[in-house]
Amino acid sequence: MIEVQELTKHYGLKRAVDGISFTANDGEILGFLGPNGAGKSTTMNMLTGYISSTSGKALIDGVDILEDPIKAKKNIGYLPEIPPLYVDMTVKEYLNFIYDLKKCKLPRVSHLNDVCSLVKIDHVYNRVIKNLSKGYRQRVGLAQALVGNPPVLILDEPTVGLDPKQIIEIRTLIKKLGKNHTVILSSHILSEVQAVCDRIVVISEGKIVANATEHDLSDRLTGAHILSAQIEGDYETVAKAVLNIEGVEVCKQINERDGVIEYRIECETGTDIRRELFFAMSKIGCPIMELKNSELSLEEIFIRLTKGSDIKEEQ
């Protein structure tokens, strides 16, 4: 449904997007992951025809967005990072305007009612947009993308600025939409794309550094070989016992509070030392207060993906 071929965008001498290629198939939710400034929004703006590419192609259902923009745009619903809302209009006026703008052929009243029910904005339908909260504005933004029932949805950081309850609701909604639409979703939060997307494209400094299914990427990025443990007891005794466990490479103190020390324990890849750690600490009488897999930061993910090796980062 969406095919991107060697898409490049220059802003003067800066290469914001550098020859990226990927495909999003019908009914797939594709996650676009990258830090701020990685080129996610620029790519999305090129896909939707808001800006043009310097070179390369973006095909929406086989139609080049630059060669036949009107035909290509008919298939796209776009929610930019800042929802493009006319805040002086009511939700009803705004959605009717979008309906007319998209030259929608579906029955007006029932279609807009369906869209409003889907994103749960029925009860604010007659309210002026400028009086709505950030969460509702985001929903109205999503509603305008859904008007006309376009087969392709492009959502640029749809959960940014929302509270946790709203984030869960929007994620659930996107998953639901993914059953009938091809969705491209951008985010700089790994857990978000993992929760929602079938496939993840990781972008850094305008280049794709990974393009894999959620499952494959999780395996590659798992931080299971790095543990974070809070253990009560003397540092020297605990560190010595931990380093004696087979497979442990590094054990260092991160923090200390009320006699409980937080350790970062790095092991050989593929090694699970949790049982051994439990018995070792039990043996020396140092209770484990907390034990968890260390989560990788986005920076660590990029280092791993770009270098393809374990993290040897000093903290």
């Binding site: 802003y11 703006n45 043009s52 796209i76 930019p80 006319y86 209009m89 305007f97 007319d100 703008l101």
Partner: protein, 234 residues
């Protein structure tokens, strides 16, 4: 185009801009009408139309300052430029919306003419020429204002640029009198909006003047489309 047109017309009357423009136009035109026709006891309304022309230099920038700049500032242009609508359609929708508001303002001059006709016979052809001339003159200024608005995201800058541009276009004939080189003098006089409009105030309906204003509108709207296009390619 229709959707953009309707949204723009609505926005003129959900914000103070439309009301300020119409109120100012009606108030000043009433003053000019009262002083030049009613108090003077004359059916000749040409001096009122001439005064209104200069008023437009100030009022049109107020009407058009937000047309394109506000979309750029609030990022609502993303909604327009990613919709299945041509750039020409977007610009035309905004132009015709501003033109409708402006036409509502100009329509009051017809009311004045009807009032005068109650006292004495009026030359309706001269008045029709004046109204058409004022409409075309203002429409070309609206196109200039929309173009200036597309160049910036700051409404004040858009209004000031528009004011300077329309004033300069009106004053071209004065500038041409100061130039000694004949070809340039002719060129400036030909492009002078004031000279083109003056013909209408005498009751002369010259097709070349009509074509001049229509061409000016087309050129500035085309420039606006190019500005939008250039922004995409920047």
């Amino acid at each position: 185009m229709g959707a953009v047109f309707r949204r723009e017309v609505l926005s003129y009357f959900t914000s103070p801009i439309g009301y300020i423009f119409l109120a100012a136009f009606y108030a000043f035109s009433a003053f000019f009408f009262a002083s030049s026709s009613l108090q003077a006891g004359s059916t000749d309304m040409s001096s009122m139309f001439e005064s209104l022309m200069l008023l437009l230099v100030v009022l049109i920038p107020i009407l058009t300052m937000r047309t394109m700049s506000e979309d750029k500032k609030t990022k609502t242009d993303q909604c327009l430029l990613t919709a299945p609508v041509s750039l020409g359609g977007i610009v035309a929708g905004k132009f015709f919306a501003a033109l409708l508001v402006y036409t509502c303002a100009v329509a009051v001059t017809v009311v004045y003419a009807i009032i005068v006709s109650g006292y004495a016979a009026v030359d309706w052809l001269v008045i029709a020429g004046n109204v058409v001339g004022l409409e075309l003159f203002g429409a070309s200024f609206v196109a200039v204002g929309i173009f200036c608005s597309s160049l910036t995201e700051n409404q004040v800058v858009a209004a000031v640029t528009s004011f300077i541009s329309t004033l300069a276009l009106t004053m071209l004939s004065l500038v041409s009198n100061l130039v000694n080189w004949e070809p340039l003098q002719k060129l400036l006089a030909t492009l002078s909006f004031y000279d083109r409009y003056a013909g209408f105030t005498y009751g002369m309906f010259d097709l070349s003047n009509v074509l001049f204003f229509v061409s000016a509108i087309a050129v500035f709207l085309f420039f606006t489309v190019r500005v939008l296009e250039k922004r995409r390619w920047a």
